[in-house]
């Protein structure tokens, strides 16, 4: 053990925190080291002196202290009770407000008829949905007739009527396209664009041109028109159904 370690061991020795082995080695060191022995005596003296330094406690005025304690306790209790009272009042007020609001909701539900959705946007959407659905149904029928026909109508009157119908459908297709210009529903606008090509051809082909007829049939097949019309038609149907429910 060196002298530096010995100082630490001395303090622990006075506080009886040394195990017998360390105590023994400290004592051995002290026997061989007069400076540490002197230091040991100094520390002992200091600690003994410090142990008694707080001195005798003066007599407190116990009654005065008790009165202060009692006052503080009463004040604390009163403050706590006031806090509890305030919290309780707050909870009661919140409960009353909750019941009042719940009553309004239930009352509205029971006594008032369901409010009609009169917003302009919703109304426009419904009308557009229905128009698109109707338009797609009619275009689908017309294209189905073109597709199933082996050759062009030989009767001039029927031929003209079909062309007229194609022109009308083309006009409506363009109107809808213009209306849906800002629409985010890209599948509908894409279909209307493809339909425009087909309807344009149908509205303008000549009686003798069987090539145009074949071209329309190929386009119907390539663009998968019937499947898309059915798909979008169903989608529009479900959308308008939902809106009607709302």
């Amino acid at each position: 053990m060196n002298c530096r370690d010995a100082e630490k061991e001395m303090i622990l020795s006075f506080s009886k925190d040394l195990d017998p082995h360390r105590q023994q080695s400290l004592e051995t060191h002290l026997k061989d080291c007069p400076s540490c022995l002197r230091r040991y005596a100094e520390i002992k003296k200091d600690l003994e002196r410090m142990a008694g330094l707080p001195g005798q406690r003066p007599d407190f005025d116990w009654n005065k202290s008790w009165n202060v304690i009692r006052k503080r306790l009463t004040k604390n209790t009163w403050a706590r009770e006031r806090r509890i009272f305030q919290t309780r009042r707050m909870l009661q007020a919140l409960a009353a407000l909750g019941i009042f609001l719940l009553g309004i909701v239930i009352g509205r539900h029971i006594f008032l008829p369901p409010a009609a959705d009169l917003s302009l946007q919703s109304h426009e959407q419904q009308v557009t949905s229905r128009l698109i659905q109707q338009h797609l149904e009619e275009v689908g029928m017309a294209l189905l007739e073109y597709n199933n026909r082996r050759s062009l109508a030989s009767d001039r009157q029927i031929f003209d009527l079909e062309k007229q119908r194609a022109r009308f459908l083309l006009f409506r297709n363009r109107t809808l396209q213009a209306f849906l210009e800002k629409s985010v529903d890209l599948s509908v606008t894409a279909l209307l664009r493809d339909l425009e090509i087909l309807l344009y051809e149908a509205a303008n082909f000549e009686a003798a041109s069987s090539e145009t007829h074949a071209f329309i049939k190929t386009l119907i097949k390539d663009k998968d028109i019937f499947f898309r019309i059915r798909q979008i038609g169903l989608y529009q149907e479900s959308k308008s159904g939902k809106e009607a429910k709302l």
Binding site: K8, I11, L12, S15, K16, D17, I43, D46, L47, R49, M50, A51, G52, L53, P54, G55, Q56, R57, P58, D59, F60, D61, W62, S65, W66, V68, I69, R70, R72, L73, N76, T77
Partner: protein
């Protein structure tokens, strides 16, 4: 725990003021000693004593008697925590010399025994100045170990830390205190 104390605690938990007073009379001396030893002056010790009892009586509803723990240990632990917090709050407790103590209320203070070596006012002043340089925890460890004569295990249990940590802090406290007292002694001479 004796039967009377048990009954007193039960009554205090129900809020009976008389029970509070009896418990106060029972423990005021011990808690007063702790407070005075820790802060070293009459005024602060009295304030600390009041703090300890107010805190104990406010928390008494949460006290649950355990077979291996006495009520005294519980209240003493509150006292220790209060004392540590008290010094933290005050940051630096100004030491009041013996003359100041006498100035406060000469009638309430017992006269110091003339033959005791601890009556030396200057050493005492140096000692408390040294204590002020310690952390509140180190200060409490030193007081409990050196002045109260508690074992390391008891101090560790009261302060809820390991015995090793108590030993380390005690060593640091003693070294610091001796340094402070030596500085003061040199300055005085």
């Amino acid at each position: 725990m004796d039967v009377e104390e048990e009954a007193l605690i039960a009554a205090a938990q129900k809020g009976h003021e008389e029970a509070f007073e009896k418990l106060y009379i029972r423990y005021r001396e011990t808690i007063g000693d702790l407070a005075f030893r820790y802060v070293g002056n009459y005024q602060d010790a009295e304030e600390l004593l009041q703090d300890i009892f107010v805190k104990s009586f406010t928390a008494i509803k949460r006290y649950k008697p355990l077979p291996d723990a006495r009520f005294f240990s519980w209240i003493y632990r509150i006292g220790i925590n209060c004392a540590i917090n008290f010094v933290k709050r005050k940051k630096r407790t100004p030491f009041r010399s013996g003359s100041e103590i006498r100035d406060i209320d000469i009638q309430t203070i017992r006269p110091l025994q003339p033959d005791t070596q601890y009556a030396n006012r200057e050493i005492r002043e140096a000692f408390y100045k040294g204590l002020d340089t310690l952390s509140p925890n180190q200060r409490m460890i030193f007081i409990l170990k050196n002045s109260d004569g508690m074992s390391t295990a008891e101090v560790a249990a009261h302060l809820k830390c390991s015995e090793g940590s108590i030993r380390k802090q005690l060593y640091r406290a003693v070294v610091k205190l001796r340094q402070q007292m030596a500085i003061y002694g040199r300055r005085e001479s």
